[in-house]
């Protein structure tokens, strides 16, 4: 066998194994004629894209061997799960990970049976699939993941197959331009292989049906040099693909050496369901949308289809591919790269294996001195920026900061003292802070930020994504899929923990008064807490020092999604350095200097989570102390939202006894919350005191106005909180009726001031806690 024949043998073997996974329960080597009982009762899986995925993989292996190339494989058409599983089995890495699925006839039988079978493996590429960093269920993210993997991996090539279905999605369409953020020297290379097989589920695909010259222009317009590999004759296609890959990898080498300025990509045009049944029941299947999933239906019941299946499988000549024990023949095994050079065994695709903890400077070095809590103002994200600056300096190749062009506007500008913005397109003298190897990646696409970061984390690195709170919803679906990936990975022993995905949502609902209604939405938290408790964490640090402590904790954590909501506007310093650490470790606690219950049972609890709600709660506590000094008020701040849940619901959950001791079981609790109020009810509805819990939060009352007016529109302001206390503490409605009226009047005055002057009145804008008596 020559090299191309060996590639063809690998390809046929992978195709055979894929068909076997879709159809067979038993008789994996076709040692006897196929019978109905060998066939699965439910036929599931996607054949259409599979032979193309196998074709690329087989050819890339030759390149890996010849050039000793470090490479991983991202299967954008991840519905073709049987392909990725077949590769791993042929390469031996499947049996390494799953010893019961051995590289022999019995292992092959198990391999077939388990596919898309209860108790078995998913039909798409999934965390269970060795060699993958990319879930193949929801489409659109392959190319962004590929670029994320390539960043800071200068010797790596990420081969990324993109289906022509997936290519219609927005995130994928945006991802082509990721090459403007790739550094030829410091980063690796992404090799996009656009696989046109002509159809999605039932429709033609756009990119397969535009004129070929338009397609070439499109790829050139994206900044690539396209190579076309088109045909359906296997022999001719093998020769063409091999020749093309030789050229392409020469060109990649030239790019890495600085001899070429753009990267190649491949357009692979092959029939959908290539090498499968040409016609079934008189209608064409190969090359059509009918090949998308299972080309032959009802094989158990239809003897004609059964015979066609056997003929189809035998067309790959399994006798030449596997020995009598079911082991791949030597000619196939020879094509498989060594050890970690196997794409199905690359440590890059199990990033936890190569993850190294961040070198974390002491965040305490940046802590704000707080001699008297509640009396001085700090911009929390500006302080965080200094810590992140030191993190970047200490980890110049393993940490990136992603965001849709808001690093400066979010006041993290200190990072620019040690790094710049990644940028590899044209520059002008008026540009600022662009830098080769820049750690800050700013692109006006939340999808790209998220996709890049996912790819970066899953290949063993660290990062943080800063985003407007309202617009993080743009990546709700990507968050869902990543959280599911983490949840599944945690149950797979060989998947090593990866760094957490950290969000900083800092232009948040309460400070989008100037941008208005469209920018006001705290609902991402609701999406997040729907995912498995084991993988999600939500933090609402109310000041600079708690933000530092939370950020340090998040950067050390593994396998979570951490959501941190913290504003960029000045807020009162509430916690000194050590108090902040203690408060964050507890997750919630009494602010004693704002409380006057003095260790006794309070008359009312004022709870709060989030910086603006905390400020308003403190102001309300001060008003109550001034006007109703005998009222025992307890102020509780919640940093770690998951503490509110029972321990059975979340690992951070607080036992009922502790919860009751803090919140009481029978006193009114006015909870002032950053987000939609019902989230607090949802987290606490099983608590003993829930009937006494009254939650304020955002209720979609937004417009263009001032910060304090935003608070008033949604009744989270200090005056309304005092009114809530009066309404809920027994007896106060009568005895404090006058104060209630004063509060209502104060709201009207504040409204009027805002309307007349276009800004908040000084007494609310510049409010600080009345200094404590010593």
């Amino acid at each position: 066998m020559d090299a191309l024949e060996r590639i063809d043998a690998f390809w046929r073997a992978a195709n055979y194994l894929a068909v076997g996974q879709i159809y067979l329960l038993d008789n994996p080597l076709l040692t006897e004629p196929l019978k109905p009982e060998h066939i699965k009762p439910r036929l599931l899986g996607h054949w259409g894209t599979t032979p193309g995925l196998n074709f690329c993989f087989a050819h890339l292996n030759r390149v890996i061997a010849e050039r000793d190339q470090d490479m991983i494989y991202v299967a954008g058409p991840g519905h073709g799960g049987p392909a990725a599983v077949a590769h791993a089995w042929l390469e031996g890495s499947y049996s390494d990970r799953y010893p019961d699925v051995s590289q022999d006839a019995e292992g092959m039988r198990r391999l077939f049976r388990q596919f898309s079978f209860p108790g078995g493996i998913p039909s798409h590429v999934a965390p269970e699939t060795p060699g993958s960093i990319h879930e193949g269920g929801e489409l659109g993210y392959s190319l962004a993941h590929a670029y994320g993997a390539a960043f800071d991996n200068p010797d790596l090539v990420v081969a990324c197959v993109i289906g022509d279905g997936e290519a219609e999605t927005g995130p994928l369409a945006a991802s082509w331009h990721s090459n403007k953020f790739l550094d030829p020297r410091r980063d690796g290379v992404v090799l996009p292989i656009l696989h046109l097989n002509g159809y999605k589920i039932a429709n033609p695909t756009v990119l397969s049906r535009i004129p070929s010259e338009d397609l070439v222009k499109l790829m050139e317009g994206y900044g690539y040099r396209p190579y076309l590999v088109e045909g359906d004759d296997p022999t001719a296609m093998h020769a063409l693909m091999a020749r093309t890959l030789d050229e392409v990898f020469d060109e990649i080498a030239a790019y890495k050496d600085g001899r070429a300025d753009r990267l190649p990509m491949i357009v692979l045009r092959t029939p959908k369901g290539w090498t499968g049944p040409r016609e079934v029941d008189g209608v064409p299947v190969e090359g059509t949308w009918r090949a998308h999933q299972v080309p032959l239906a009802a094989v158990r019941e239809n003897p004609g289809h059964l015979a066609m299946l056997e003929e189809w499988m035998r067309s790959y000549r399994p006798g030449e591919l596997f020995d009598a024990d079911g082991r791949p023949v030597a000619e196939i095994l020879e094509t498989v790269p060594e050890g970690p050079r196997r794409m199905s065994a690359s440590p890059h695709a199990n990033g936890g294996e190569i993850l190294r903890p961040l070198v974390l400077p002491d965040f305490r070095d940046h802590a704000v001195a707080v001699p008297v809590p509640g009396t001085a103002l700090t911009e929390p994200t500006r302080v965080l920026g200094r810590f992140l600056r030191d993190v970047i300096a200490a980890n110049p190749r393993t940490f990136r900061l992603m965001g849709p062009d808001e690093t400066d506007s979010n006041r993290l500008s200190a990072v620019f003292e040690v790094t710049g913005r990644a940028w590899h397109a044209g520059t002008l003298p008026t540009d600022a802070r662009l830098a080769e190897g820049g750690r800050v990646m700013e692109v006006l696409s939340e999808h790209l930020c998220q996709g890049w970061l996912e790819g970066y984390l899953l290949t063993g690195r660290h990062g943080l994504f800063t985003c407007y709170e309202a617009f993080i919803h743009i990546v709700d679906a990507m968050f869902n899929q990543h959280a599911k990936w983490l949840d599944a990975s945690r149950r797979i022993p060989w998947r090593r923990p990866v760094a957490s995905l950290n969000y900083l949502l800092s232009s948040h609902v309460w400070r989008q008064d100037h941008n208005g209604f469209s920018h006001q939405d705290p609902g991402f938290l609701d999406v997040v807490v729907n995912k498995k408790a084991g993988v999600v964490r939500v933090y609402l640090p109310p000041d600079a020092n708690t933000l530092l402590s939370v950020a340090d904790h998040c950067l050390r954590s593994r396998d979570y999604v951490n959501v941190v909501v913290a504003g960029k506007q000045p807020v009162l310093d509430l916690f000194g350095e050590e108090e902040a650490v203690t408060h964050c470790a507890r997750g919630l606690g009494i602010i004693d200097w704002a409380s006057n219950d003095a260790g006794q049972e309070p008359d009312v609890v004022l709870a709060c989570a989030g910086d603006v709600p905390t400020l308003e709660t403190l102001a309300a506590a001060a008003l109550l102390r001034e006007h109703l000094p005998w009222l025992r008020v307890r102020v509780i701040n919640v940093v770690d939202l998951m503490r509110l849940q029972p321990p059975a619901e979340h690992p951070h959950g607080m036992p009922d006894a502790e919860f009751d001791a803090l919140f009481t079981t029978n006193k009114p609790v006015i909870f002032n919350f950053h987000g939609y109020p019902w989230l607090i009810h949802r987290l606490t509805y099983r608590r003993n005191g829930h009937a006494n819990l009254h939650v304020r939060g955002y209720k979609e009352e937004g417009t263009t106005t001032t910060p304090f007016d935003m608070a008033m529109l949604n009744d989270i302001d200090r005056y309304h909180l005092v009114m809530d206390v009066i309404d809920r503490v027994p007896g106060l409605r009568v005895t404090a009726a006058h104060l209630r009226q004063r509060m209502a009047d104060a709201r009207l005055r504040a409204r009027a001031h805002t309307r007349d002057h276009g800004e908040d009145a000084p007494e609310v804008r510049d409010w600080t806690w009345p200094e404590r008596r010593s």
Copy 2:
């Protein structure tokens, strides 16, 4: 004045008005020197993109007048709200809509003051802006909206300005290919104007920094014929733009006549903040990122900046633009098209004005006969497909069905009896059901489906979007923005109601057992109910007839987002034609044939919402009847989820007395829910019986398995429901211990069957309600 001078006058006037909006409280005509008290206390707004938006608008007006062209204007860089407001005011339509903002000096003063001022108008293009169908807050959707507006409007041109920031987003990147779905004869035309001003907030933009030849190829690759309009000298640019537009509209005419096969687009390259301050405090501003928002800061406090502002505003020569009363001079008014030809007054941009109700055939004609409820199976979406077929036939130009290639797979195939799929790219003989003027739009981009439909609805038409339930999260953010648009529009008297945005989520969590974990997510409902109660509706019809009734209701409704969750797999027919109508009108009700409380107080309530949970609840009720016949069981099905809320929370909310009568206040309620269980708690936590409510639902336990196993994994299966009843009805734990053990055993047997056979056991798969005794 010649034509170009008049255009220049309009442009200068719009620029002047934009600067005035950003800066001035008073002295709108600069009748006296600017003083600090004329300046707003908070300077907000986005100047950078504004002169470009004004430039395009001014030039398009000439084309409208010369060609009597019907046209609307979509401002993708919608942060440039001052531009759109200025256009409307100059055209008189602003004063038509808001008479207090009259077209004179006092009106101009109000126009300036209200901008981004408390009680005033948003800083972005918004529902409040006459002539807009596009919110300018969240970026990415302008081109999809534009195409949606153009469909079925054969005489309309939608001019769509796309910012180079927005162009980096995924949805926008995907939208370019919308031209493959546009019909030259039946649809209108979209004219994309890609406005490159070089920067986003602080970073350069990708498309402004790639080589010009790449950009041209990119646009050609997308299928357009690009025209470049580049420069910074106003006189030269006026001439170039006018000449280009003449060519472009000639080409559009040729395309409409069939003489050209591709549409033109324009690349407009102008400095950011064009005509604004060149330098401020020694650093360049015009043409840089510093011009993004407010080029001159602290104008009240800084006399130098105040002087620069005055100089800047006077550079537009307001004395030539407005008469002494503040009214635009005749030369400007002459450039304004007549009445509804004004883009700021187009009825297309206030779609409710031209909305005509759908001609709705009687859905009862498609009702399934249900002689004995619970005994026969129907695929609900297949029945719905027949109704939709008739809707399409009766409304051949005003109704579209959008989806990511799932119309067939969702079993709505009957629609193809009367229409096909819109497609205007290459075709092959193996293609199926493509048709010119097709009403079905299938593209593998949820963003495009949503964006097209929004544009279509906001211009006065109707539609339905079918989607996988898990992947509708892809458009969470777009849903949020549309819901906010509807909420704001309802408060604007001149905005007429538009048809509701209807979702059909039919490949839902409980039937994604074969596709696995990545396809299992019912959380869109949680996102939806966060929005204002006035604009959101959620329906979970449990069978074919209720689905028909709900669909009919949704298609008649206005200004809502209706979410309908209904499976495509066979489910039991539960409601006859009239019962279905009654049940849906009530929104929830007792299924009397499945209950045996016979009008008495029940011992336990089994509530359910969603088709699969309803089936399992009925099976549990049958088990209880068989094994504990003396137990009084009430079965309640909920179709309209919003009925569960108190009336104060939602217009559909049920009064407590009715709720209590149905659910009791003291009996255990086992609620089997389609989605995440806490959503039911959130909707009902204020109800009297809430402490007795026990909710089952999806709790992120998913994998590749069988339908019944999916139910068991999440404890929503019949056996577990019976165990729940035994656990919660006082005394049963002891007296029915044996039955509880049988149920637990039945679960183990079902699990084992699934693992052994790869499919559900026949007794659960083919279960029907034991036929009623007559």
